[in-house]
Assembly symmetry: C2
Homo-oligomer: 343 residues x 2
């Protein structure tokens, strides 16, 4: 191999450094939120980031306190016709019954195994809880992670026939990246299972496991036959990360009040209230699903129906308007919804 003179290496390094600096500068000049139409929602995000990260601003925040929290289902990705995690639990039942054949004759597993969609739609909350407990607990953390990973690689959304992980909202992905580029730590604060979301959050949203706050069950420490320690997922609820639980979960896992929070339903109300109640400039936003053509239409506006998932009644809409929260209209504020749809 020919040796390169060290002076030349240094010159190349300098050229590269210069390119990186100029590149970063050029990027700052371009639109950080290209999938957003210009309007009050986009302007609110840009103004918030500008005001809280410009050292000359009266609202400047030191990087350590820049915390932004995001609900997941209905805020970062599609929650219809059913939460992805519930899909997972239902689709795990056959594998579970293969291991434990006695379940085949027991409700609600019998109904799920029948594949009768009408009967499945009538499952009650206690029925669902039994299915969740059976498919989300009783195995090691590593085994659970592997099962979720396998499922995500093959499962597809019934409407778009694509992996669930492709059904994230491009405009919200841009907000995540934009906030991080300005020193914000981005967290998911979800009513979904913390361990479930952790399996894909890093790959899908760039959010590491330690920044996923969710509904959590306990684990139990024990030793395998090889003497090695492992954790078993237990059917014991530590935190229901919905409604008031979202503010409590934020205190448990982060210990600081967020400066920005994003949600889409009554389950996010307390997180937004808690965020907004802190001193200084805050940003509280709600995604409104008013685009039945490109996604789904539900919520209070334009006579849209409320559904079992992502409840957004008129009272929440009124609260948002009173509290200075900003409602994001998927129809009007988002130029594009999914990355796969192209520009």
């Amino acid at each position: 191999m020919k040796r390169i003179p060290s002076g030349l290496v240094f010159a190349r390094f300098v050229a590269l450094a210069a390119l990186l600096v100029l590149g970063a500068h050029a990027q700052a000049q371009t639109d950080a939120l290209p999938s957003w139409n210009d309007g009050p929602a986009k302007q609110a995000i840009l103004a918030f980031v500008q005001a809280t990260t410009d050292p000359a601003s009266s609202q400047f925040l030191p990087p350590a306190v820049r915390i932004a929290t995001f609900d997941q289902d209905g805020t970062l990705w599609v929650e219809h016709p059913m939460y992805t995690q519930v899909m997972y639990c239902l689709e795990r039942v056959p594998a579970l019954a293969a291991k434990k054949p006695e379940l085949k004759q027991v409700e609600p597993f019998k109904t799920v195994l029948s594949g009768n969609r009408e009967a499945m739609a009538k499952l009650t909350l206690p029925d669902l809880e039994k299915i969740l407990a059976a498919t989300l607990t009783g195995m090691s953390v590593e085994q659970f992670n592997a099962e979720v990973k396998t499922w995500l690689a093959t499962a597809k959304h019934p409407r778009w026939d694509r992996p669930y992980t492709e059904l994230t909202y491009l405009p919200m992905q841009e907000v995540l990246r934009y906030l991080r580029a300005y020193g914000y730590k981005t967290y998911i604060v979800t009513g979904g299972g913390q361990d479930f979301v952790r399996v894909y959050a890093e790959q899908v949203y760039g959010i590491p496991p330690e920044q996923v706050v969710g509904t959590v069950g306990g684990t139990k420490y024990g030793y395998g036959r090889d003497g090695k320690p492992f954790l078993t997922k237990e059917p014991k609820l530590l935190l229901n990360d919905n409604n008031a639980g979202k503010a409590e979960g934020i205190h448990l896992m982060i210990g600081r009040r967020p400066y920005a929070a994003f949600g889409n339903s009554t389950g996010d109300q307390q997180m937004l209230e808690y965020t907004q109640a802190g001193a200084g400039m805050r940003l509280a936003m709600l995604v409104l699903h008013d685009d039945a053509t490109r996604e789904y239409g539900y919520g209070p506006a334009q006579g849209l129906p409320n559904t079992r998932v992502g409840t957004f009644p008129q009272t929440l809409y009124d609260k948002a308007k009173q509290g200075g929260w900003i409602v994001i209209s998927m129809k009007n504020d988002w130029k594009q919804i999914f990355a796969f749809q192209g520009k």
Copy 2:
């Protein structure tokens, strides 16, 4: 103002970039752990960081998974004659009794108020739990934080007559900084109260609240008279972050297995086991308090007594030796113990 030609600005930038690069290189040549004597403990830390952060190494770890966890009491700072948090709770009793005079006639508060040290030393665990519940719960998160901050500013350790926050071990502070300089995220994983430690961890150790894992109670979301939401600390235990609870707490709060873990007692055993049981190179270390002159002498070596805090029996010592954990001798491995003692 004279305009500086842009070519000159660029040249200055290049010179600065070069200086930064050379500066970083020069720093790497100096001793990252100057308060450590050369020996197996220091060498193990240096070798671990070198092997896991050098891209050419077979043990190289991507930055995202570089997690290191540290017990606090007895590992990062002094735990004798009593855990700092227990000191806090005992010293809060007079203020509490001033607000709730009925406590003055009720045990164990009566004994604490008497100031009789002999009687206080005989308080049972249920007595202590009553005192902890009364002084750590029942107020808002903000009020608690303010009370702890006020106490820390004035309270002093009986032996050194200095604030508790000055009684951190300089060699461990160096390890924290060294690991962070190489991309490790450093966490405290303490049996102490998560909210208590969060009040000072950022200032004292450079560890932000979201990287403090501890024993946690629940909080309850509610609204003040002004309509503003706040969280009240509840006397409800969510996680006892000791023994097996340390591994469970790591999963709850971090969701990844650490690559390095540091402790000093039986309460840290499972955290070290759990860390060590992962694939690849791991570092598990135990601080042995064998320096009765400069700090305290307790543990299994040299006939040192076991005490109520920081139990380190011979069985743990044997386990460490079998498992390839490294025991840090305060007497032999640490050149200096506290920053205030000077070199």
